[in-house]
């Protein structure tokens, strides 16, 4: 017999335990949403499987010294198994006391089913101080929602949800905005209604926690990206103005993806699938996540079951990979976007092969608005002393108009980058005056990213110079011209200032940035101290008066 003990173990003896799961109570569903990747089997999790699953998770939590377990009640439509959902939640609470661990329960529902039994149970959970988190999938107002979220007979489902939204509000009362969120899925069919849907949720349904995330596997075109940008910009403006009116970060916190503004570190890998997170099927099998499970009829990604546990060898690629191992990982400034290893596996044959293209650009738009929001919050004094990687306009591929000026580079800057005919370019400011180039001999060109572009038009606006150019591929771009041949005296000075790192643009020298950040942190701290001193002084005055 071979003795392998002389060889070193390579991986941790106690690998990260699975304590957070999505539970496929049933794969059955009463809807057939157009973008759904599920198979709708009519299976149901039994009491025996459910109990064992919960014990398995608590045992893992105990072994790994994790404080709580997390059950995301998923399906299919989990409300089709609402009695089991209630039973298992109560069982988890009971076992939680035994194991001295917490329990987090989240229900992901299409919102069409809310039985009296469930209403009573949700009220009961609130009464005993263990409110259940609810995520309802609604894509927008009725006409938008009904395009994608349809019943088996292909009929719209909004009318089925409408009355339930009211019921949820009744059940949760003041807790609604803490424990309920609405999740809209953006697909090609509805992305043009992003802002409209956002407004609808906020103003008509009056839910505050909102999410809109683009479907990752959709083939997003430049046009969709532009539409997403336009929608996000409007939402951004609303959210920021809410923050200003309320002098609070709360509005930002409540909208995903803008809420990522408030988190410095999103961890390394894009998600915990196969690490601390997994999916448990109705018959007790364990898969890295539901998205992978539903696309794996051969069961190749099965990593274990709730009776015998997880095969470390089989989940190794998930437990060991790091964010930087993804094909876009090490170079992208925005590597903490919503990347999805399941989509990578399904579309590209490897969890590490990152789909980029349109989706990636959408994620960069998110990052751009997150950066802007961060800056805005810092300016308002709601966030202080933070350091994060702000993206340049070039990286984002987009300009956001005035709000973004702070980040403008001091050379040539993309104002609007679009493929297509010049007449399709929606200019930020429609009333620009410009002069056409008159003859070929007068045509000037500029070099952008090492490639020459012909200037078609030039104009001025508020003292700034803009031009419309055509590159070798025939693409039309609008650019701001700051420093190339023919600079005016004042612009030359600006350029010198820029080179010396004194202009406030994002191409400042590294050491200047660091220095400025330190100064900023110190002055923030000073400001805070002064405010505190004021408070102390006032208290002393009050005390003296009291005497």
């Amino acid at each position: 017999m071979i003795n392998l003990n002389k060889y070193e173990l390579q991986f941790p003896i106690s690998p990260i335990p699975i304590t957070s799961v999505s539970v496929l109570l049933t794969e059955d569903c009463n809807l057939r949403c157009t973008y759904c990747f599920e198979k709708h089997n009519k299976n149901k999790m039994s009491q025996q499987v459910g109990e064992r699953m919960i014990d398995f998770l608590f045992e893992n939590a105990q072994k790994g010294n994790v404080d709580y377990i997390s059950l995301t009640m998923f399906g299919g439509e989990p409300m089709l198994a609402s009695e089991m959902l209630e039973y298992l939640t109560k069982y988890a609470w009971q076992q939680g006391e035994k194991f001295n661990k917490g329990v987090q329960v989240i229900i992901i529902t299409n919102g069409t089913i809310l039985t009296d039994q469930m209403k009573n149970f949700l009220s009961y959970a609130i009464k005993v101080g263990k409110p259940i988190q609810i995520q309802i999938s609604v894509d927008g107002p009725p006409e938008v929602h009904d395009r994608t979220r349809v019943t088996i007979d292909k009929k719209g489902s909004f009318h089925m949800i409408e009355k339930n939204l009211v019921k949820y509000k009744e059940i949760y009362g003041e807790l609604s905005n803490r424990f309920i969120n609405l999740h809209g899925v953006l697909s090609k069919d509805n992305i043009q209604y992003l802002y409209e849907s956002y407004k609808f949720f906020k103003e008509e349904t009056r839910f505050e926690n909102l999410w809109f995330l683009p479907v990752t596997e959709e083939e997003w075109t430049d046009e969709h990206v532009q539409i997403y940008f336009d929608g996000m910009k409007k939402i951004y403006n609303d959210v920021i103005s809410d923050c200003k009116n309320q002098n609070s970060l709360a509005p930002l916190e409540k909208y995903a993806p803008l809420n990522r503004t408030l988190t410095e570190n999103w961890g390394d890998a894009p998600c915990g699938a196969g690490k601390n997170y997994a999916t448990i099927t109705a018959n007790g099998e364990i898969y890295p996540c539901h998205h992978i499970y539903f696309n794996d009829p051969e069961k190749e990604t099965l990593i274990g079951d709730i009776w015998t546990g997880v095969s470390e060898s089989k989940r190794r690629i998930y437990s060991e990979y790091q964010g930087d191992d993804l094909s876009c990982g090490s170079t992208c400034e925005h590597k903490n976007c919503y990347r999805c290893i399941a989509v990578n596996l399904i579309s590209n044959g490897s969890i590490l092969s990152q789909t980029k293209g349109g989706y990636c650009r959408m994620m960069k738009i998110d990052k751009l608005f997150q950066d802007m929001a961060r800056k805005e919050m810092e300016r308002m004094g709601l966030l202080m002393g933070s350091k994060n990687n702000l993206m340049t306009k070039e990286e984002a591929g987009f300009d956001c108009g005035e709000v973004y000026r702070d980040y403008a580079e001091c050379h040539i800057v993309d104002i609007q980058r679009l493929n297509g005919n010049s007449h399709t370019i929606p200019l930020e400011k429609p009333n620009l005056s410009y002069q056409e180039n008159k003859t070929e001999t007068q045509v000037r060109d500029l070099v952008y990213n090492g490639k020459s572009e012909i200037i078609l038009q030039e104009w001025e606006d508020e003292g700034k110079h803009y031009c419309r150019t055509r590159n070798e591929n025939g693409e039309i771009n609008v650019r701001e011209i700051i420093n190339f041949n023919g600079l005016q005296e004042s612009q030359k000075k600006e350029k010198e200032k820029c080179n010396a790192g004194q202009c406030g643009c994002s191409i400042k020298k590294e050491e200047n940035i660091q220095l400025e950040e330190q100064i900023e942190i110190l002055s923030d701290a000073m400001a805070l101290m002064i405010r505190k001193l004021d408070v102390i002084q006032n208290m002393l005055i009050e005390l003296n008066r009291g005497k």
Partner: protein
């Protein structure tokens, strides 16, 4: 034991496998360089096997053809077989014709089992969605073409195993078997991904399952390289560099008086930090298969 010479024909490759050990991904070779190596080989040795390696050798297929024709034209030289070690993503009509005509040429495709197991083998150029694609689909298409056109015994698949697919070896073998492959080589990633005891345990237990399935007839007529034959421990892999420091060829150090000891090429002995462990587990698997066979005979 007969010597095998490895002839490098290009260092360029259209893939970017995550465990690739190759540092030089640029060099190309002229016919003069290859011919000089061949002339050096035949000066001392008259009977041997040849392996074409890259980079991706299919990207310099003309050099393979030229080498083959040159060697076959020598009356006093016997080359037992020519193996093209390829990622199998490139297969032109011209290549297929060459393989159809020349029966001593073998195709050794790198494919790590199922598509899921092959996750670390990806193309260099990303596809339209910006992601490097798994090579599996293209390789399987090409294997199907080859299986249709040439003798099944001349098509080998080499599965590289590493800590992220070793637990699936049996599944991978079964899958390749179902595709019609009957010759499978099982390799181990040596320097670019760390391996340890867990890998060794999985390697042994998975190949024991495969061994039993061959014996019980599940995988009839399947040949797994290390069940049949184990590379001798005495093999001394020598790398031959020309005066410019460019890697030209390799030998296994099985004959004493040949190009390695006599030529102007600089010779470097290949070592791998894990070679003892890898040898030990391979030898164990090899012997275990023999035991399984004996047990069956006794019963």
């Amino acid at each position: 034991m007969k010597e095998r010479y490895v002839i490098h024909v290009t260092k360029k490759c259209n893939c970017n496998c995550l465990y690739c050990y190759e540092k030089d991904k640029m060099s190309t070779y002229t016919w003069e360089e290859v011919k000089e190596l061949i002339d050096g080989i035949v000066k001392y040795n008259k009977s041997f096997g040849v392996e074409f390696l890259g980079g991706e050798p299919a990207m310099a297929f003309h050099l393979i053809q030229q080498s083959y024709e040159y060697l076959e034209s020598m009356n006093d030289i016997f080359v037992s077989d020519y193996v093209i070690t390829t990622n199998s993503t490139i297969l032109t009509e011209e290549m297929l014709d060459f393989l159809k005509t020349n029966k001593k040429v073998y195709w050794s495709a790198s494919l790590d089992g199922t598509k899921y197991m092959n996750q670390l083998r990806v193309f260099k150029e990303p596809s339209n969605n910006g992601a490097p694609q798994n090579t599996y689909d293209v390789v399987v298409d090409n294997l199907k073409k080859l299986l249709y056109n040439i003798d099944i015994d001349r098509i080998h698949v080499h599965m590289t195993t590493h800590p992220y697919n070793v637990a699936f070896i049996d599944r991978g073998v079964g899958h390749l078997y179902s595709l019609g492959i009957r010759h499978i080589g099982i390799g181990t990633v040596e320097s670019t991904i760390k391996i340890g005891r867990e890998y060794a345990e999985d390697f042994i237990s998975q190949l024991d399952i495969v061994s039993k399935k061959i014996i019980n007839g599940t995988y009839q007529n399947l040949k797994i390289d290390l069940f049949e034959w184990i590379k001798p421990k005495e093999d001394k892999r020598s790398y031959l560099f020309n005066s410019e420091g460019k890697l030209i060829g390799e030998s296994y150090g099985r004959v004493e008086n040949d190009i390695v000891s006599n030529s102007n090429y600089k010779t470097v002995l290949g070592t791998s930090p894990l070679q003892n462990m890898i040898y030990e587990i391979r030898e164990y698997v090899h012997l275990r298969h023999k035991e399984n066979l004996n047990e069956k005979r006794i019963r």
